[in-house]
């Protein structure tokens, strides 16, 4: 099916997410949509799939103007979208997920659904148990389920929004194979990504978005330098790796085991010194986050010891960890990091408590003005945090980290930031290392892990690799480990 977007505009409050975008996507191809985080790719695709409604502009499918007011309209016209976080129902079974939203009478036709499910599964060489519960599946399998579901609904245009985030190497290979097959069958596939290599590998044609506007379209073979320039508007340098002197031991983990839900991690040993940066890599839900939370005292270990700055902290609570010089920055900014409804000033007062029970508002205001300036936050002391942009929220979180912390734990420190903000964030963090902090961070961006870590731990289904020196590895090697290859030295303990 041929897809044409004409002069699409969409704003969220003052933010121009899409501004006058024109695109034409021919049938039977894989079309790439490239751009940094926040460039407006997802917004555009959400408009095409009926999730958002455009402020202006029209959509044409196979030379006919259509009005798409909801996802239901979109799928009726043959347009289906796979969201970055699959939009399914985790507590329900695969087959029920497959059926919900499909037409029919009062009673679901399980026979027909099973038939459809098996036929499509076979065609794409997917193997998901239709009776399994969705929350038992990996992200990759949940994607496969969504692909099958959309095809069963008759989708002729399939949109994939950053589908390779959080899936294993094998699953990625399988996904790409499926995409090619879909295109061969004459469907239009739109592949949204911020990763150049993936666009290069898959797409015959790609459009680049920057700050809500279409920068241009290019055809394969691509000139990577040109693409980078189109994406960022200029060439950005990431700065040079500098070595920082290692100091005393900050964290020691001995024979550690922990359980979280169905995930079990056993026998982790690690020692971290001042000034060191440790990156935790792996598919989401492989145990990185559990280990990080353990280092913050948020979950207790089942066996083993945790020592922070010479003090045995095993089984101690989060606040005792804080007093021992640990700080933890969660990934979800407005759920765990900041408090919507409260101002920047109130946040600074909460985290930088001066002695006494009575608040000195003037002093607090002075302090927050300083912090706001130092961290270049676009906002005033009285700005409520939910009104800050994502990047500024991230800056605020960093500003809230106390300066004297010895162990800094970070979940996705630069997720959702544009590249310049990300570089700025890391500059600040490296400065902390120079002052003697050690950093533990999770990221799903391998480049980030390689660029900023000294040593790397790779997680796979609860298994943890030995620490790898960042200088002695590369994206390829890490990718294999993340996909589960090369864990031979370790005891087999995957429970799936």
């Amino acid at each position: 099916m041929k897809v044409e977007l004409r002069d699409i505009h969409k704003s969220f409050g003052p933010v121009r997410a899409n501004w006058g975008i024109n695109l034409a996507i021919p049938p039977g191809t894989i079309f790439g949509l490239l751009g940094e985080n926040g460039a407006g790719k997802s917004t555009l695709m959400n408009i095409l799939s009926g999730y958002y409604r455009q402020d202006e502009g029209r959509i044409r499918l196979d030379d006919e103007f259509v009005s798409i007011g909801s996802p239901a309209d979109a799928i009726r016209h043959g347009v289906g979208m796979l969201h970055q976080d699959p939009l399914d129902f985790p507590p329900m079974r695969v087959l029920d997920n497959f059926i919900i939203g499909h037409g029919g009478g009062i009673l679901p036709d399980y026979g027909e659904a099973k038939k459809g499910f098996h036929e499509l599964s076979e065609a794409f060489d997917f193997s998901i148990d239709p009776q399994a519960y969705v929350d038992m599946l990996t992200v990759g399998e949940r994607q496969q389920l969504e692909i099958l579901r959309l095809l069963w609904l008759g989708a002729k245009v399939l949109i994939f929004d950053e589908p390779t985030t959080g899936i294993s190497a094998q699953q990625k290979a399988k996904l790409f194979e499926a995409l090619r097959r879909l295109a061969e069958e004459g469907r239009s596939v739109i592949f949204v990504s911020h990763k150049l290599e993936e666009i290069q590998e898959l797409c015959s044609r790609a459009a680049v978005l920057r700050q809500g506007e279409l920068v241009g379209e290019v055809e394969a073979p691509y000139d990577l330098d040109q693409l980078v320039k189109m994406m960022f508007g200029k060439v950005v340098s990431k700065g040079v790796r500098t070595d920082i002197d290692r100091g005393d031991e900050v964290l020691r983990i001995e024979n550690l085991s922990l359980e979280q839900g169905r995930l079990e991690i056993t026998d982790v040993n690690l020692a971290v010194r001042k000034g060191e940066v440790i990156g935790l890599a792996g598919m989401e839900g492989s145990g990185q986050s559990a280990l990080l939370k353990l280092c913050a005292g948020l979950i207790p270990p089942v066996h083993g010891r945790v020592v922070v700055s010479g003090q045995d902290m095993t089984g101690k609570r989060y606040r005792e960890f804080l007093q021992q010089g640990v700080t933890y920055m969660p990934a979800s900014r407005l759920e765990e990091g900041l408090i919507p409804g409260m101002t920047l000033l109130e946040h600074f007062l909460l985290t930088r408590e001066a002695g006494g029970a009575v608040i000195d508002w003037e002093k607090g205001r002075e302090l927050s003005r300083r912090q706001i300036q130092e961290f270049s936050i676009v906002g005033r002391p009285d700005t409520k945090v939910e009104n800050l942009s994502g990047g500024n929220q991230q800056r605020a979180l960093l500003a809230l980290l106390r300066p004297d912390r010895e162990l800094i734990l970070l979940e996705h420190p630069t997720r959702g930031l544009d590249i310049e903000s990300a570089i700025w964030v890391w500059k600040q963090l490296k400065e902390r290392c120079r002052q003697g902090s050690a950093i533990f961070f999770i990221s799903s961006d391998l480049e980030e892990i390689l660029d900023y870590s000294d040593r790397i731990l790779v997680f796979f289904g609860g298994q943890v690799s030995d620490p790898i020196k960042a200088r002695e590895t590369d994206v390829e090697k890490l990718g294999h480990l993340i996909g589960g290859q090369g864990f031979a030295g370790k005891r087999e303990q995957v429970r799936r």
Binding site: F12, Y51, Y52, S70, P71, A72, I75, M81, H83, L87, D88, F89, P90, P91, M92, D96, I99, I100, G101, H102, G104, G105, I106, L107, P108, E259, I299, P300, P301, V302, G315, R317
Partner: protein, 332 residues
Amino acid sequence: MTATEIIIGLSGVIAAAAPVVFATIGETISERAGVINLSINGTILLSAMASFAIAVRTDNLVLGFLMGMAVGALVALIVSFTSITLMQSQVAVGYVMTLMARDTAYFLGNPFVGLSGPRVPAFKIPLLGDIPVLGPILFDQDIMTYLSILAIIVAWWWIYKTRPGMMIQGVGERPSAAFARGANVKRVRYIYALVGGTLVGLAGPTYSLSIKAGWKGTISGLDGFGWIALALTIFGGWDPLRGAAGAYLFALLQWLGLVLQPVLPGIPSQVMRVAPFPLMILTLLLVGIGNTEWVNRTLAGLPDDARIFISRTLRFLQVRPPTALGEHFERE
């Protein structure tokens, strides 16, 4: 106590549970779609009063019950409009409505206090009613009791076995995903909040036109059942069968309390009358304590076999609310 007395007693338990069953099932349906209707204690009072008043004025039981259902639907509509369309807290509006419906019932019901009105007759089902033991307990009841049992089965079947029912689960679990699958989330929530409210509205007349016939204002003895039904919804883990089982258990315990009172003269009747409420706290404690941080922390420190046993037990009791319960949904 003789066998006949026990059979009569159990038959009474099934009948006494009927209004609580209506309220619990109604609330379960509403909450499954994501709408907490906290008003049901007041709704039961208002629907009991209104249906009794109509039945007295018209001498028509059917009109009385219809009035009860209309009251339940109306209150649910107010709760839905304020929370779904105007995006206010469901708990807040539910709380206001529970008080307001109660006071309105007392105010408008004033002229009807103590009047005698019609009452639903018993209806023994032929053949089934003659089965020994089970017959008199289950099949020699009035029509509302049969309907309450039917409501359990239909609600369970609808939620778990039908296509629209599966979508209710989806709307309560993850409205964004339900929307992506073509559901009009707000409309679905309105519909099932109203359906649930209508069922709650049946609870009132089941009292005032059947098991506690009449209207006696503040001393009608109906105040409190709505809260029990709300607690049973949680206890039932948002499952109609488990919730209804809770309602029967509750009625059974109340009956046992009455039966045992002469045996335990030391306990005054006021204490017996409120016994359901500590019981309510206890059951909520059983299903809720597994979710607390200190329990999980303590468990992690226990030896393996004890840990696994206790956590299995807790997980069996534990209930998980619909993920999006009480949350607003906006598409952008």
